[in-house]
Amino acid sequence: MNELIKVNGLSKTFSLSAKQQKLEKTKEKKKTAVHNLSFTVYEGEIFGLLGPNGAGKTTTLRMLATLISPDEGDAVIDGCNIRTEPEQVREKIAFLTSELKLEDFFTPNYLFHFFSELYHVPEEAVEERRKMLFGVFGIDAFADVKLANLSTGMKQKVSLAISMVHLPNVIIFDEPTNGLDVLTAKVVTDFLLDLKKQGKTIIISTHIFSLIEKICDRAGVIINGKMAVCDSLDKICAGMSLEDRFFELYQQNAGGEAE
């Protein structure tokens, strides 16, 4: 199998501002969010990053999407290094996390065309893609309404559709079903499974076990910024339920650091 994404010893330490120190109730000036993280994602699979709040999932994915750069280690995505070729990496991936907002002033239609231009989508292909993606997420009904007047779930659908304007081969979604009702969440999971069928490679992060069990081929469990285990779902669970296995791992790895 082709190793499409290879992550090698990624580390990231944030320096905390006084305000953040107070929020985190810590006196330390630094916070290591991700520590020496390595994993591999094979072409055409769905890989799940599982971990409790604050484990470092989002930080890892932000590094892969070149939004922030790692302190140590690197990663190669579809042949492009995240450190040395960030622009090429961005061409190849769709990235979504709750931090990425769309401007309230514009309509889904306008934004779709705007981002299509930024991704150099050929002009004749834009309208066809828009129909397809807006169709999948049922955006047509509010395609000409300003985002300011849409609900959180509607905005999330628009974000999902727009992140895919360039139909990339690699999809990195951070908690894609967050804030969505069960119906919409199902649309998203079906969409991901459909993408997998088309041969795309997908990483999702979540703390929802059922989502991992339902769609992921392999998964990595992150605890306190470290990879506790990374394997195919069957091997991780080893006969247990994913939930039970997770608690076991957490006990072994959190080692007294538990909150």
Binding site: S17, K19, Q20, A65, T66, L67, I68, S69, E87, Q88, R90, E91, F95, E99, L100, K101, L102, E103, D104, F105, F106, Y110, F114, F115, E117, L118, Y119, H120
Partner: protein, 399 residues
């Protein structure tokens, strides 16, 4: 790759010009407000300073000589002080009930004819005293009129020579419309323009850069393959145009209302208006304004990129605004534009100097070229700095 700059530029323009609140609040409103405000100020000032045409100043005259009564009665409502003491009359002037109190010495005409300035040294010249109240416009006016009349009468008696004999100053004031406009425009507009352009930039730059950071929409742009420098250039272009529209609206408001504001000054008989300037002046002005706006927008973009929120950007802008205004004020000192080349390498200072030159019909193309070049260098440096900032996680994502 130029395509992405244009895409960003287009989006920003649509953001500004598609928003009725921004179009009205930051582009149209300033010009309209300035127009009405200045007109109102002009009216109020001229009402305050000028006295009604057919008004006759009330005037007490002590020992008015026959020979002079005809002359004085034309302009003044003369009353005999019969029975009133000088103190009572002075009090009435102080209380603004009476405009003037003129005291001629007894036998004034005789004393005048006996007095010869050339020979007599022991005897003093006869003294006419005029009491007035400088806080009352009609009294001040009456005072200067009375002084003028008596002066004229005095020189008529000696009549060695005359100055500007005639009805008014109009025929002697040789200032052309152009001169007056040059004087007034160059003394007011450069500084005002700098302020207008600054406030235009301030209305949009923090919103577009710090605002996008605050709302998390900039991160969405940063995960696309767009170069950060292209984002910066596209934004600065769009911000400059919007800021300029705002500045131009304020300027039009000022230029249209300036004649009314200037009408306050009575000694100016020529008309003041922007039509005396030709295509050349307006073209040069446009060049200076464009390069100035670029400088201001770049400056505010750096501040906005550093700030976490719009509010913080506005706070950080305050000291910078004061600095820019001080530079602008310093550039207004002195008469006319500076000759030394190095003054034209200081952003903002050079703009004000250029505008003074342009408004006085003395613009030096070399100075303007220097201005444009140094401003472009400043803007390029600024774009480089903001791009660097857009590459910094600390600056972009620090909460």
């Amino acid at each position: 790759m130029k395509g992405t700059v244009f895409t960003i530029f287009k989006k920003e323009m649509f953001r500004f010009l598609g928003d009725r609140k921004i179009v009205f609040g930051t582009i149209l409103l300033p010009g309209i407000m300035i127009y009405f405000l200045y007109n109102f100020m002009g009216d109020a000032l001229s009402n305050q300073l000028s006295v009604e045409e057919d008004y006759k100043a009330s005037c007490y005259v002590e020992a008015l000589p026959q020979e002079l009564s005809g002359m004085l009665e034309q302009g003044f409502a003369i009353e005999e002080p019969s029975g009133k003491t000088p103190e009572e009359i002075k009090k009435s002037v102080r209380e603004k009930k009476t405009d003037l109190y003129i005291v001629f010495p007894e036998n004034f005409m005789q004393a005048v004819s006996e007095y010869d300035a050339g020979k007599e040294t022991e005897k003093k010249a006869p003294l006419v005293e005029i009491y007035y109240n400088s806080s009352e416009p009609s009294s001040t006016e009456a005072y200067s009129e009375a002084t003028m009349l008596l002066d004229a009468y005095e020189s008529q008696m000696a009549n060695k020579f005359d100055i500007n004999l005639g009805s008014g100053e109009a025929e002697y004031d040789l200032a052309t419309d152009e001169d007056s406009t040059a004087t007034y425009f160059s003394s007011m507009l450069p500084m005002l323009l700098l302020i207008f352009l600054f406030s235009g930039s301030l209305a949009v730059a923090p919103e577009s850069i710090a605002g996008e950071k605050e709302r998390g929409t900039i991160a969405t742009l940063l995960v696309t393959p767009v170069r950060r420098s292209h984002i910066v250039i596209g934004k600065i272009m769009a911000l400059s145009i919007t800021a300029m529209l705002s500045g131009i609206s304020s300027t039009i408001g000022t230029v249209l209302s300036l004649p009314s504001l200037m009408a306050v000054d009575n000694s100016v008989n020529t008309s003041i208006n922007g039509s005396v300037y030709g295509v050349r002046e307006y073209l040069l002005l446009a060049v200076v304004i464009i390069s100035t706006v670029l400088v201001l927008v770049t400056l505010l973009s750096i501040i906005s990129a550093y700030s976490k929120s719009i509010k913080e950007a506005q706070t950080f802008t305050m000291p910078v605004m004061i600095l820019v205004l001080l530079v602008g004020i310093t550039a207004m000192f002195g008469s006319g534009a500076k000759k030394e080349w190095y003054f034209y390498c200081i952003p903002c200072y050079n703009s004000v100097q250029d505008m003074i030159g342009i408004f006085q019909f003395q613009a030096d193309p070399v100075h303007i070229l220097l201005t444009v070049c140094s401003n472009i260098i400043f803007v390029l440096l600024g774009i480089f700095v903001v791009t660097k900032m857009f590459h910094s996680e600390k600056i972009l994502f620090n909460k």
